[in-house]
């Protein structure tokens, strides 16, 4: 007989909304330093359809502070001769360090809601977030992690390469299979450029994990 699994679709409520008492999110195996992801960013606009291949690697994650960082490599970028690599830093929406409201980077609350609501996994949370900013949500048991990723600098090309890193990504990570989707937001670029990534296993039949420890 198949085992009956207790499904918990929507996140539970926390009692009390004091941010001082919130815990960071628990670790998720596939959102860890050393994990690599690969996929595409759709940069289509009215003129043409275009997609870049993208590789992302997570270099560090600090759940206590809701922080992570890594590199993003864009291949077959028309204006560049080589792949373009950037370094990005991320904010994890955990209700402790960061909320669904960006509060900077020229993103209004309406922009935030417009983007988050494009993720199907945000739907169960939407009502709560709209009413009180999601202050009472307990995200620690929700199998999706929401983040904002902001590119900080170009690693291997100059700033005159014709590409912009002025905006940021709204990101949704699926804890179960490590897939990532995101939407790039920049008031001066085409809206809703979509990022879609999956985990990379480098020719292996299964998952492999490396790690480091800072002293």
């Amino acid at each position: 007989m198949p085992v009956r699994v207790v499904e918990n679709n929507a996140p539970a409520q926390v009692s009390g909304n004091d941010p001082g008492n919130r815990s960071p999110l628990p670790p998720s195996s596939l959102l860890a330093a050393g994990q690599a992801f690969s996929g595409t960013q759709n940069v289509s606009n009215q003129q043409k359809e275009e997609a870049w291949r993208v590789n992302v690697q997570i270099q560090g994650i600090d759940l206590e502070h809701g922080y992570l960082c890594g590199t993003m490599e864009a291949l077959n970028v028309p204006m560049a001769d080589t792949p373009v690599i950037t370094f990005w830093e991320g904010e994890i929406v955990d209700g402790k360090n960061y909320t669904f409201y960006t509060g900077k980077w020229e993103a209004t609350r309406e922009d935030d809601m417009r983007h988050w609501s494009k993720f199907p996994s945000f739907a169960p949370l939407q009502g709560q977030v709209e009413s009180d900013g999601g202050r009472q949500l307990d995200l620690s048991n929700y199998p999706y992690i929401f983040m904002r990723w902001k590119e900080q600098y170009f690693v291997n090309v100059g700033t005159d390469c014709g590409l912009t890193i002025a905006g940021f990504y709204y990101v949704c990570f699926s804890c179960s299979d490590g897939s990532i989707s995101g939407f790039y937001y920049d008031p001066n670029s085409s809206p809703f450029q979509k990022l879609e990534l999956k985990t990379v296993n480098e020719g292996r039949s299964g998952f492999s994990f490396s790690s480091y420890e800072l002293q």
Binding site: P27, S140, F207, S210, E213
Partner: protein, 663 residues
């Protein structure tokens, strides 16, 4: 008796030498007036003058003055007693060689006797002199546990004479070391006596603050007793004194509060007090004297491990202030340098903003210079500063730390004569070698791998652990070249020795290193099969020995990584998990699945996921075996595991299980 007269007509060049030699014969004179004048002369020359102290010392002034004091003691010549005590006190003041000489001259008991004189001036001089001696670590041990010593101490504290009561406090400040001594002093009522000095003269207040800090340090009962005195009145007094006009008073009261905070932080719930303490110490950093030196160490002690205080300090511009002091270019004394670097290190310990701020101020060159400082404490503090700044992944990724002129001096310090420097630099290098698969590694170019391997064989387990951690970080996302460079120095036998280290923490790092080695390109898995699978066998053996959780986690990730390879690799892992023959009670997988450590449960489930990964032909057979060994049924019991990550992985296994037609 003929007396020598000062030869005022002599030329200047020869006169000082003559006068010095001359003064010795006058010190030995039997004419008290002559002796007295000579004593005054010496005393006046050496006050505040270290060079003069040294030169008189070398000529044997201290024994000569000690004799003068002994003679005067017998003849009760007060003036000579006063002057000789004063001169001896001056020699001992802030001058360790002087303290040594005074103690060697055997005059300490005589100085103590002066305290019982009927002449107040004599008592004063004796007390002042003894206080200077008790500022030094060379002061004789004071046994507080002896009743008569305690009585004597209290007689000092009870004295009306401020120098004598101050001496009592000084003795406590510098001689009280253990919690037993603190207890004995508190039980005898020393806190109640000391706090009365807070309302006394400047010198009494300062002595009191110093001694309070010593009695309260790391002793919650003592702190509780102190805070309870007169419903917190004295605690308030100490807090008020942080705003006193004298810098030394401000410093000593801050240090007292730091001790109380570190012992019992619950007395500091008020953000304002915390903030004020931080900003007062920051201001004191600018004091050019001893207060500034001690303020730096005090600040580092205050903010250590406390993210909220580090944030307060950062917001009060601490990093910029400290960097400005360091960049003044003037020669800072070692104690201050140490304190400043340790404060910077604490600021950078947890907050990424602080690290980025510090690194943006172009401080690495200055820090590199101090790695060559002649004082080992300064070198150690500089290394700790490096280590904490290098916790910034952003800056590591940008290659901030791997330039030649930073890396080379750090690598050279691995051979530093001081072991505390070696430990500190190993910690710094551990972080700095993390270069996220950058193809070039300056660390490796400087022979770093060989040095780390050498250190992994050290007698000291901490060194072995640290060096392996550095190697582990060096092998994170490493390419095949780098892995080969390392492995060729160690080979299978060497690795087995590391994994079998008697210390669990060392085993843990060795296994984590192995985990990184077999990650990446699929061919890397072959390392564990070298020499007939020696390494893999050892991993299996260690896992069967009921290891500590942290070690087991790394071991299971080694198996996970190997199990992500080919059929052969997966089968080899199965053999380690279920060697034939084996009693069911030896099934460590079941034990790990029931561990309290969620990471261990998670790592174990990942191994299973890889073993039954549908893309490999033998998956079904392995699934049958896992089911028969009770592993799959155990997972079914864990569908509602408290840890989300574990729960998710178990569902992956069970859905795969169902697709195998599991009933």
């Amino acid at each position: 008796m003929p007396t020598t007269t000062s030869s005022s007509s002599s030329s200047a060049a020869s006169s000082s030498g003559n006068r010095q030699a001359d003064v010795f014969s006058r010190l030995a004179s039997s004419d008290p007036e002559v002796k007295l004048k000579a004593l005054r002369e010496v005393k006046n020359q050496i006050i505040g003058n270290r060079t003069k102290k040294l030169s008189f010392l070398k000529l044997g002034a201290v024994p000569a003055i000690a004799s003068a004091l002994s003679d005067a003691d017998c003849s009760s010549n007060s003036s000579i007693l006063v002057q000789s005590a004063a001169a001896l006190g001056s020699f001992a003041c802030g001058f360790e060689a002087g303290v040594q000489a005074v103690l060697d001259a055997g005059v300490f008991p005589r100085l103590l006797r002066l305290l019982t004189s009927s002449d107040e001036k004599v008592v004063d001089a004796g007390a002042r002199s003894l206080r200077m001696i008790f500022q030094s670590n060379q002061a004789p041990k004071y046994d507080f546990l002896q009743e008569k010593n305690m009585e004597f101490l209290f007689s000092l504290l009870n004295s009306e004479n401020e120098n004598v009561s101050g001496l009592g406090a000084s003795i406590i400040a510098h001689a009280c070391g253990t919690s037993v001594e603190q207890q004995v002093l508190c039980d005898a009522g020393v806190l109640e006596k000391l706090v009365l000095l807070l309302d006394g003269s400047l010198s009494q207040r300062e002595a009191c603050l110093e001694s309070l800090a010593t009695v309260l340090k790391s002793n919650p009962e003592a702190v509780s007793r102190f805070v309870g005195l007169e419903a917190g009145r004295y605690m308030s007094s100490v807090t008020e004194l942080t705003k006193d006009r004298y810098p030394r008073t401000r410093l000593l009261s801050c240090l007292c509060l730091v001790v109380i905070y570190n012992t019992s932080p619950s007395y500091f719930l008020n953000m304002g007090t915390k903030s004020s303490l931080v900003t007062t110490l920051l201001e004191l950093l600018n004091d050019p004297g001893q207060s500034g030196d001690e303020a730096a160490l005090g600040l580092s002690s205050l903010i250590a491990e406390k993210e909220d205080l580090q944030k307060l300090a950062y917001e009060a511009n601490a990093i910029k202030n400290i960097v400005d002091i360091l960049k003044t270019g003037s020669e800072l004394n070692p104690k201050r340098l140490q304190g400043l670097f340790l404060s910077l290190a604490e600021l950078c310990s947890k907050l990424e903003d602080c690290r980025c701020s510090f690194l943006s101020l172009e401080m690495l060159d200055l820090l590199v210079n101090e790695l060559r400082h002649k004082n080992a404490d300064v070198r150690t503090a500089a290394c700790i500063c490096f280590r904490n700044a290098a916790r910034s992944i952003k800056n590591l990724s940008a290659g901030r730390f791997t330039t030649d002129h930073v890396m080379l001096p750090l690598v050279q310090l691995l051979h530093d004569p001081s072991s505390s420097v070696q430990v500190a630099v190993l910690g710094a290098l551990s972080n700095i070698v993390l270069d996220f698969s950058s193809p070039k590694s300056t660390f490796i170019e400087y022979g770093g791998i060989k040095q780390l391997i050498e250190l992994s064989k050290s007698m000291d387990p901490n060194t072995r652990c640290s060096s392996l951690r550095a190697l582990r970080n060096l092998m994170f996302l490493a390419d095949n070249n780098r892995k080969e460079l390392f492995y060729s120095e160690v080979k299978a036998q060497g690795f087995v020795a590391l994994i079998s280290d008697p210390e669990p923490s060392v085993q843990e790092q060795a296994l984590a290193l192995l985990r990184n080695l077999v990650d990446g390109c699929i061919n890397s898995i072959e390392f564990v099969f070298d020499e007939d699978g020696l390494i893999l066998d050892t991993v299996g053996r260690q896992l069967r020995k009921a290891p500590q959780a942290q070690m087991a986690i790394q071991g299971m990730y080694v198996l996970t990584n190997v199990a992500s390879g080919t059929e052969l690799h997966k089968e080899a892992v199965m053999q380690q998990l279920f060697p034939q023959p084996q009693a069911e009670s030896n099934n460590f997988m079941l034990k790990f699945l029931q561990s309290h450590e969620s990471q261990l449960r998670s790592a174990t489930v990942w191994t299973i996921i890889n073993l039954i990964s549908p893309s490999s032909p033998g998956a079904l057979d392995r699934h049958v075996k896992l089911r028969n060994e009770g592993i799959i049924p155990q997972l079914k019991n864990m569908v509602n595991d408290a840890c989300l990550d574990v729960k998710i992985r178990i569902r992956t296994v069970l859905s795969q299980s169902m697709s195998f037609g599991d009933n």
